[in-house]
C-alpha cells in the first residue's frame, strides 16, 4: 500500500488472483478456464494477456447477473460449463472464482459435483480454484491454480524416474530455455505448467482455438510418483506450494530455488540438475556461463553508474536484485505489490554490501506497495533506470527514467512472450539491456555536459541555440550576419525598452506574443482560463500562436509599426513552462533582427534550468514575479506549484518556488541580463512584506522593481480581496524606492498587447473573427421536408413509428437542417395521442407546413391523408441530405411538367 495514503492504493503494482489462475491454466494441455463471476473480469484479463503475449486469449465467464447474485449462481456456472464444452471440447476446465462468487458464498466444489451428477457421460476434468480477487495478487493466484491442479487430479503413485519441475510465472521463451536445459542433462521431467507453446504459438495454416499444447493431465497424474520436485520459486508460502503438497501427500522430496537469473541462482539450478542427472555439466552450458562471466567483467564499470528501481512479483524482485547486485548495479528500490514479508530478509544483506562499496546512503525495500510510493521513492533516491513490467511507463513518461520491460504484463511494446531473463544467456541478455540503457545516457550527453561545465572562452553557443532544423548539416556562416547591422549594447536596449525606461514608453513600441499557454504554478489571484495577471493583464488572449505563427505576426507588425523595439513573451501562461515554444520563437525572431530587445516574463520556477539558455538566445531583459521571500507568506499566495512532475502545496511549494526564483535571478545577473521584479500587492497578505522582497532582490543585483495593484479576477481565490488604492501603492513604491528603482508607469498589458504602452492596437492584427450578431434562422422559402429518422443521419424509420420529425429545407440547391419536432408536443388531447389510430393524425399536425414527407416505409392510408393535404410522400432508405435533394428535384420536375400542361 501507499505509505502516504494508507486507505488508498494509488496506481496498483499488482493484479488480482484470477489473472494468475488464467495464466497457469494456459499451461495445461487442452484446458479452458472459466471465471465464476461477472462478465468484466474475464474480459479485462483477456485484454491484458492478449496485449502481453500477442496471442488470442479465450477465457469464459459464467456471466453472473443480478438474479444469480441474489439467488446463487449455480445455474449460470452449469450453463457456462455446458456451453464451454460445446464450443471448445476441452479435456480440462479450470473453474476460478472471483470476488463476487466468493463474497456471495458460492460452493463451487458442490456445483461441480452437481454438474457431474447431471452429466454422467461427461469425461472433462474440472478443477476448482478459490481465487477471490481480494485474497491475494496474480502471483498467489498462479500457484494456487497449480496447487489445485495437483490436488484435484487423480494421482498415480507408481514410482518412475522423472522429476517434477514446477515454476512461477515465466515467459514462454524462458520456458523453452528451461526445457532445452533439462534435455541437455538428459533428464526425464514433468513441467508444470508449460506456457511455451500456447502463449507463443507458431503461425500455421490451421488455427485451433483450444490450447493444444502445455502439460497433459496424464503427466500431472504421474507427479506423485516422481523421484523429486524442483520448485522454481522460493517465496510462495509452504501451504500454497504445489511442491510441498506433493511431498506431504505423496512423499516426493522437493527443493525450492530462486528464479535462475544471474550467476548464483543459475548455478544453483544447474548444479542441482547435474546432481539429479548424475552428469557433468555439458560443455555448452559451461561456455555460456563463461561468456556471462566475461560479459560481467566487460560492463562492470558502466554498471556502477546504475541506480535501479526494481518492482514486480516477489520471485522476480529477489532474483533481479541478486543479478544487479552481483554486477554492481545498485538497486535503490526493491518493491513488490504483493504481500511478501520475507522479501526483506532475502535481499537485505546483498543490498547493504553493495551500498557500502558504492557509498549509497539510501535505498528501500518495499512490501505491499503501490506505484505512487515507488514514484516518490524513485525521485527521492535518484533512480536512473527501472526494471519491471510496463506499468512503470507512467513514471518513465513523467520523469524520464528509462524502464526496461522484462516482466508480465508488457502492454506498450511487442514481444512480451519472448522476454528472456533465465539462465546464463537470459541473464546476459538482461544485463546487456541494463548496461546499454546506462551507456545511452552517458554517450548521448557527455559532450554537452563537459562543454557546458568547463568551456569558458567566449559565448557558449554550441548547444541549444539553433532551432531544430531538418538539415543534418550545420550552417557555418549565417548569411544574415554579414549585413552591416550593428548590434546594440544592452544599455542601449534598456534605454529603448518601454517597460524599463520611462521616457521611451512614449515613443517606443513593443509587442507581446501569446505563445505560452501552460503554467506551472497556481496563484490565488489567477484563473487559469485567462491570461496570467502578474505581468500581462487579462482579457482573454485571442489565440495562442505557434512559434511559426508568432514569427509571421511579428513580421507583419514590424512592417506597420516601425518603432517596434521590444518583443516580449508574456504568457498567457509562463514562458518557461513552455520553453520549447519560447525558444523557437525567440530564435526565429533573433535570426531576423538581432537588434530586437527580447523580454521574457516568468514566475521563475524553471529559471535555474533555462537562465543560461535565455541569455544565449539573446534575451536581454527578464521580468520575474516575486510576491514574497518568506515561504509562509508565499503559501498564502500560491495554491500549488508543479515541479518535476510533482504537485506541491503550501509552504513546500512556496519554498521550492522561492529557492528557484532566487537562484535563477542570480544566474541571469551573472549572464548580464537585466532583471525586473514584479510584485503584486495583496492587501493583508504581502503589503507590509514587499519592502523585504525589494531588499532581497536588490541584493541579488536586480535593475528595477514594479509594485503593482491586484487586478481582481472573477472566480479566483482572491476575487474578494481588498484592492490597494493608488495612494497605498505609491506609498509602498516610495518606501521601496529607497532600496531599488521603482517603475511608476506600468500599464499591466495584455499578453497579446501590441503598440505603445498607452495604445493597444492588437485588435487590428487579430484575425477577423467578429461574428455577426444576428442569429437569424434560414428563411423558410423553397421547399420544406419532414423526415423520419432514428439517428438523425439516415432516413431509416417507419412513418408510423416516428416520435420525432427532422425538418429540412431545400433552397438554392442546398439542403439545410431546420429543426427537430417532437410529435407528442402536437397532441391536443391525451386520448387522441394514446390511441394508436390517432397517432398518424398527430404526426400530420406536426408537418402541416411541409411540402413533402420522406420516410423509410409508410402505409397506404397515411399516404392518402398526407397527399390530400398536398404533402408529397417519398419512401426511401438514404442519407437524409441525399434523400431531400432527390425528393426536391422530383417535386420541382413534376411542378415543371404540371406547369407545362397548362
Amino acid at each position: 500500500m501507499s505509505k502516504n495514503l494508507v486507505n488508498l492504493n494509488v496506481n496498483p503494482c499488482k493484479m488480482c488472483m484470477p489473472m494468475g489462475t488464467a495464466n497457469a491454466f494456459y499451461g495445461i494441455q487442452k484446458c479452458m478456464n472459466i471465471l465464476h463471476g461477472s462478465q468484466g473480469c474475464s474480459t479485462y484479463i483477456r485484454r491484458h494477456m492478449a496485449t502481453h503475449y500477442n496471442e488470442p486469449v479465450d477465457i469464459a465467464s459464467s456471466s453472473l447477473t443480478e438474479e444469480g447474485t441474489v439467488y446463487g449462481g449455480e445455474k449460470n456456472l452449469i450453463i457456462g460449463l455446458e456451453n464451454l464444452i460445446k464450443l471448445y471440447q476441452p479435456e480440462v476446465i479450470g473453474v476460478s472464482t472471483t470476488c463476487l462468487a466468493e463474497t456471495i458464498g458460492e460452493d463451487i466444489e458442490y456445483i461441480i459435483k452437481n454438474f457431474y451428477a447431471s452429466h454422467p457421460d461427461e469425461t472433462v476434468k474440472i478443477i476448482p480454484v478459490k481465487s477471490a480477487g481480494y485474497g491475494g495478487t496474480q502471483f498467489e493466484g498462479f500457484t494456487k491454480a497449480l496447487r489445485a491442479i495437483v490436488a484435484h487430479v487423480d494421482m498415480d503413485q507408481t514410482k518412475h524416474d522423472k522429476i517434477n519441475i514446477i515454476t512461477t510465472m515465466i515467459s514462454p521463451a524462458d520456458t523453452r530455455y528451461l526445457i532445452d536445459l533439462l534435455d541437455q542433462f538428459g533428464l526425464e521431467y514433468i513441467l508444470l505448467p508449460d506456457l511455451s507453446e500456447n502463449l507463443d504459438g507458431v503461425h500455421q495454416s490451421s488455427y485451433y482455438r483450444l490450447p493444444m499444447h502445455g502439460t497433459p493431465i496424464s503427466e500431472v497424474q504421474k507427479m506423485a510418483g516422481a523421484r523429486a520436485t524442483i520448485e522454481i520459486s522460493d517465496t510462495i508460502k509452504p501451504d500454497e506450494s504445489p511442491g510441498v503438497y506433493l511431498y506431504e501427500n505423496y512423499g516426493v522430496p522437493y527443493k525450492r530455488l530462486n528464479l535462475p537469473m544471474g550467476l548464483r541462482d543459475t548455478d544453483a539450478l544447474i548444479d542441482l540438475l547435474a546432481e539429479l542427472s548424475k552428469k557433468t555439466i555439458p560443455e555448452k552450458i559451461a561456455k555460456e556461463r563463461g561468456r556471462y562471466l566475461d560479459g560481467m567483467v566487460d560492463s562492470h564499470k558502466y554498471n556502477a553508474l546504475g541506480r535501479i528501481a526494481i518492482f514486480g512479483e516477489p520471485d522476480f524482485v529477489v532474483s533481479a536484485v541478486r543479478l544487479c547486485c552481483e554486477n554492481g548495479v545498485m538497486p535503490v528500490i526493491a518493491a513488490t505489490g504483493s504481500n511478501c514479508p520475507q522479501l526483506k530478509e532475502k535481499i537485505a544483506a546483498e543490498l547493504s554490501k553493495l551500498a557500502d562499496v558504492l557509498f549509497v546512503d539510501n535505498y528501500v525495500i518495499l512490501n505491499d506497495v503501490d506505484f505512487e510510493t515507488i514514484e516518490a521513492e524513485a525521485l527521492r533516491l535518484g533512480a536512473n533506470l527501472m526494471l519491471g513490467n510496463s506499468d512503470g511507463r507512467r513514471i518513465e513518461e513523467k520523469h524520464g527514467i528509462p524502464l526496461i520491460r522484462c516482466a508480465f504484463p508488457i502492454h506498450d511494446r511487442i514481444g512480451g512472450q519472448r522476454v528472456r531473463t533465465l539462465g546464463y544467456e537470459g541473464s546476459q541478455i538482461l544485463l546487456d539491456q541494463i548496461t546499454n540503457t546506462i551507456l545511452k545516457a552517458v554517450e548521448g550527453g557527455f559532450r554537452e555536459t563537459l562543454y557546458n561545465t568547463y568551456y569558458n572562452e567566449g559565448p557558449k553557443s554550441k548547444y541549444g541555440l539553433e532551432p531544430e532544423t531538418d538539415s543534418p548539416m550545420k550552417v557555418l556562416e549565417n548569411p544574415k550576419s554579414t549585413t552591416n547591422t550593428t548590434i546594440m549594447t544592452i544599455e542601449e536596449k534598456t534605454a529603448n525598452h518601454p517597460c524599463y525606461s520611462c521616457g521611451s514608453a512614449q515613443k517606443n513600441a513593443r509587442m507581446h506574443l501569446p505563445i505560452a499557454p501552460q503554467c506551472n504554478i497556481q496563484c490565488n489571484y489567477c484563473v487559469r482560463k485567462f491570461d496570467c495577471p502578474n505581468e500581462s493583464r487579462p482579457g482573454v488572449t485571442t489565440d495562442i500562436l505557434s512559434p511559426e505563427a508568432a514569427f509571421e505576426k511579428y513580421k507583419l507588425v514590424k512592417e506597420k509599426v516601425p518603432n517596434l523595439t521590444v518583443v516580449g513573451i508574456a504568457g498567457p501562461g509562463d514562458a518557461l513552462a513552455n520553453f520549447e515554444e519560447t525558444r523557437k520563437t525567440l530564435a526565429l525572431i533573433h535570426e531576423d533582427d538581432p537588434n530586437v530587445t527580447f523580454c521574457v516574463s516568468t514566475n521563475g520556477l524553471m529559471l535555474p534550468y533555462y537562465a543560461k539558455e535565455l541569455a544565449k538566445l539573446g534575451v536581454s531583459h527578464v521580468t520575474v514575479t516575486v510576491n514574497a521571500v518568506d515561504p509562509a507568506i508565499g503559501a498564502k499566495i500560491y495554491k500549488h506549484v508543479d515541479f518535476m512532475g510533482n504537485r506541491y502545496h503550501g509552504e513546500a511549494g512556496a519554498s521550492i518556488l522561492l529557492a528557484n526564483q532566487l537562484s535563477g535571478i542570480r544566474l541571469l545577473i551573472d549572464e548580464g541580463v537585466i532583471v525586473k521584479i514584479n510584485t503584486v500587492t495583496l492587501m493583508g497578505i504581502n503589503d507590509t512584506h514587499i519592502e523585504e522582497v525589494v531588499k532581497t532582490v536588490k541584493a541579488l543585483g536586480c535593475f528595477i522593481s514594479n509594485v503593482m495593484p491586484l487586478i481582481p479576477v472573477k472566480g479566483s481565490a482572491f476575487e474578494g480581496l481588498q484592492i490597494a488604492t493608488n495612494h497605498e501603492i505609491n506609498a509602498i513604491r516610495d518606501k521601496c524606492g529607497v532600496h531599488l528603482k521603482q517603475m511608476y508607469h506600468c500599464k499591466q498589458c495584455r499578453a497579446d498587447a501590441i503598440g505603445k504602452l498607452d495604445s493597444d492596437i492588437s485588435l487590428d492584427f487579430r484575425e477577423n473573427e467578429a461574428k455577426t450578431a444576428e442569429m437569424v434562422l434560414a428563411a423558410p422559402k423553397g421547399l420544406r421536408f419532414a423526415i423520419t429518422s432514428k439517428g438523425g443521419m439516415l432516413v431509416d424509420q417507419h412513418f408510423g413509428q416516428a416520435a420525432e420529425l427532422y425538418i429540412y429545407d431545400y433552397l438554392d440547391d442546398e439542403v439545410q437542417f431546420k429543426e427537430k419536432r417532437v410529435i407528442s408536443k402536437y397532441c391536443t388531447g391525451a386520448e387522441e395521442c394514446d390511441e394508436k389510430e390517432d397517432k398518424i393524425g398527430t404526426i400530420l399536425k406536426a408537418l402541416t407546413d411541409c411540402d413533402g414527407a420522406i420516410t423509410m416505409r409508410i402505409g397506404d392510408l397515411p399516404t392518402k391523408r398526407l397527399e390530400s393535404k398536398g404533402i408529397k410522400v417519398f419512401s426511401t432508405y438514404d442519407r437524409i441530405e441525399d434523400a431531400v435533394k432527390t425528393a426536391a428535384q422530383e417535386i420541382l420536375k413534376s411542378e415543371l411538367s404540371t406547369a407545362g400542361n397548362f
Binding site: 500500500m1 502516504n4 495514503l5 494508507v6 486507505n7 488508498l8 492504493n9 496498483p12 499488482k14 493484479m15 463471476g37 461477472s38 462478465q39 473480469c41 474475464s42 474480459t43 484479463i45 483477456r46 485484454r47 492478449a50 496471442e55 488470442p56 469464459a60 465467464s61 459464467s62 456471466s63 447477473t65 447474485t69 456456472l77 450453463i79 460449463l81 455446458e82 456451453n83 464450443l87 471448445y88 463476487l100 463474497t103 477471490a132 481480494y134 504459438g201 503461425h203 500455421q204 490451421s206 482455438r209 502545496h649 461574428k771 455577426t772 444576428e774 437569424v776 434562422l777 434560414a778 432514428k790 439517428g791 443521419m793 439545410q816 437542417f817 429543426e819 427537430k820 442519407r879 441530405e881
Partner: protein, 453 residues
C-alpha cells in the same frame, strides 16, 4: 448452417446469416451475455469508467478489490490539454477483512485523504461487484463527504453483474447530470456542447478546431478533455451535438428535457459524414456567417483530402472488411467509410448495438453479409474464414485472433494513438487499412510460410 460447431443454440438468434435474411427484427440484442460463451464484452463498471474517465480534473476512486482499478489504469488514449490527474488509478484495495467487516470506513478515510492531498472539485466513487453485497452504503458516504467538504462527491453504482456495459454508460450519464444540473438555469449562449467524444488521440481537439473554423463556439466537451468547471457551463448551450450515440443519447435526452437543449446527431468518421455533420451544425445554429464559413471550409478540406484518398482507393477497392466493435454508431460509420473506399463489409458485429442500430446496419450491408450481436471468438473465427475477410476492425482482444487467421487488422479502439476522426482522421484510417491489408507479410506467409507443426 456451415458453422454448427462454432455456434451455441442460445446464440443463434443473435446472428444473421444469408440463409435467414431476416427482416431486422430477428436479431436478438441488448440482452445479457450467454454464460460460457466467451463474450468479448466488459462490464457495467467499465462502461461508466469509459465515459467519466476523460474528465481531466475529476478524481476517480474505485471502491472494491484491486483488480477493477488495476485493469483500467490509464489504458485509454483520452488526451488532456492540462491536468493529468485522471491518469491515476485510486482504489480502496479491499482485502479479506474489509469484506468481512465492511469497507465503508476505509472509503470514508480514502475520500478524506484524497481531499487532503489534492483539493479536488469532484470525486466519483465507483461501487464495483462486491460493494452492494457486503452492504456498504456509498450514498451515505457521498452525502456526508459533500456536507463535510463542500465539494461534489458522486456515487457511480456500477457492479459488474447489474447489466451490460451500456448500463454503465447510463450510470455515467446520470452522474454527469448530477454534476451539471444548476440551481437555476443559466441564460442561453450561442455555443454548443459536444457529447460523446472522448478525445482519443486528440479527436476532440480536431472537432473543436473545425467548429472554431466555421465560427461555432463550444461550451462544454462531454467528456473528452473536459474540466469540471467547463462541464458546469453545459446547461447554457443552445444545442447539443451527439457523436457517440450509444453512450450519450441518454444524456442528450435528459438535457433536452431538463435544460431545454435540443440535440442533433453527428458523426466525424469519413469525409461525407464529417461534411454533412458540419453543415447540419451550421444550419442548426442558423447563423448565415457560420453557414458560409462551413461551406468554404468543407470545400477546402474536400479539395485537400480527396486526391490523397483517391491514391489509397486503388489499393483498397474490392477488398472485404469485417467489423467487430463496441457500439452501433461506430459500426455504421465504418461500413459507410468502407463503402467510400469501394470496400464491401462482409461481417459486422457489435458488443452493445441496439435494435435500431442493427436495422440500419442491415440496410447498409449486402444481403449475404453476416451480422452478429455480442459475438465470441469462435463465431468471429468461423465467419471471418467463411466470408474471406481481408481486414478486421476491432478491439485489442480481437487483434491476435485476426493475425492468427492471416487477416489484417485496424485498431479502431480506445487505445489508438492516431486520430481517426475528421478529414485528417479519414486519411489516417485509409492509410492504416492500406498498410495492414497490403503488407508484404501476407504474401510471404501465404506463399509457403504456413506449415502445420
Amino acid at each position: 448452417m456451415k458453422n454448427d460447431a462454432a455456434i451455441l443454440p442460445e446464440r443463434a438468434k443473435s446472428i444473421r446469416f444469408s440463409e435467414c435474411s431476416g427482416d431486422g427484427s430477428g436479431i436478438k440484442c441488448e440482452s445479457e451475455s450467454v454464460s460460457g460463451a466467451v463474450s468479448q464484452r466488459a462490464c457495467v463498471y467499465c462502461g461508466a469508467r469509459v465515459v467519466l474517465n476523460p474528465i481531466t480534473d475529476a478524481f476517480h476512486i474505485v471502491h472494491g478489490p484491486i483488480g477493477c482499478a488495476s485493469y483500467t489504469w490509464d489504458i485509454r488514449g483520452s488526451l488532456s490539454s492540462d491536468e493529468e490527474g485522471y491518469r491515476n488509478s485510486y482504489s480502496t484495495d479491499l482485502r479479506e477483512t474489509d469484506v468481512i467487516f465492511g469497507g465503508e470506513k476505509k472509503l470514508v478515510a480514502a475520500v478524506d485523504e484524497v481531499v487532503a492531498m489534492h483539493a479536488p472539485k469532484v470525486i466519483f466513487i465507483y461501487a464495483t461487484c462486491i460493494v452492494g453485497v457486503i452492504g456498504d452504503d456509498i450514498d451515505a458516504v457521498c452525502r456526508n463527504a459533500e456536507a463535510k467538504y463542500g465539494i461534489r462527491v458522486i456515487a457511480v453504482k456500477s457492479p459488474g453483474f447489474s447489466g451490460t456495459k451500456k448500463t454503465g454508460y447510463k450510470m455515467a450519464c446520470n452522474a454527469i447530470m448530477n454534476l451539471i444540473t444548476p440551481e437555476f438555469l443559466p441564460a442561453k449562449t450561442a455555443g454548443v456542447n459536444i457529447l460523446g467524444d472522448f478525445n482519443l488521440a486528440g479527436e476532440m481537439w480536431i472537432i473543436k478546431n473545425y467548429l472554431r473554423r466555421i465560427g461555432v463556439e463550444v461550451v462544454a466537451n462531454i467528456t473528452g478533455d473536459a474540466k469540471v468547471e467547463d462541464l458546469k457551463q453545459a446547461p447554457a448551450a443552445q444545442l447539443n451535438l451527439v457523436q457517440c450515440a450509444g453512450s450519450m443519447t441518454y444524456l442528450a435526452k435528459q438535457m433536452e428535457e431538463v435544460f431545454d437543449i435540443p440535440f442533433i446527431k453527428v458523426s466525424f468518421f469519413g469525409v461525407t459524414d464529417t461534411s454533412d455533420s458540419l453543415m447540419r451544425i451550421a444550419y442548426a445554429v442558423g447563423d448565415k456567417e457560420v453557414i458560409k464559413r462551413a461551406k468554404a471550409f468543407i470545400e477546402e478540406e474536400k479539395n485537400r483530402v480527396t486526391p490523397l484518398l483517391n491514391k489509397y482507393r486503388k489499393n483498397l477497392e474490392g477488398k472485404k472488411a469485417a467489423i467487430y466493435v463496441g457500439g452501433g454508431f461506430k459500426a455504421i460509420s465504418l461500413i459507410r467509410q468502407f463503402h467510400e473506399f469501394g470496400m464491401n463489409t462482409v461481417m459486422v458485429g457489435t458488443q452493445t448495438g441496439s435494435k435500431d442500430d442493427y436495422e440500419v446496419i442491415q440496410h447498409l450491408v449486402d444481403e449475404d453479409a453476416v451480422i452478429l450481436d455480442d459475438a465470441n471468438p469462435a463465431e468471429l473465427e468461423a465467419f471471418m474464414k467463411e466470408m474471406g475477410a481481408d481486414i478486421l476492425v476491432g478491439g485489442v482482444k480481437e487483434r491476435p485472433l485476426a493475425y492468427k487467421l492471416g487477416v489484417a487488422f485496424c485498431d479502431h479502439n480506445h487505445e489508438r494513438k492516431h486520430p481517426l476522426a475528421g478529414y485528417e482522421g479519414t486519411l489516417n484510417f485509409a492509410s492504416e487499412i492500406n498498410l495492414s491489408m497490403n503488407s508484404p507479410v501476407w504474401e510471404t506467409i501465404s506463399q509457403g510460410g504456413m506449415k502445420d507443426v
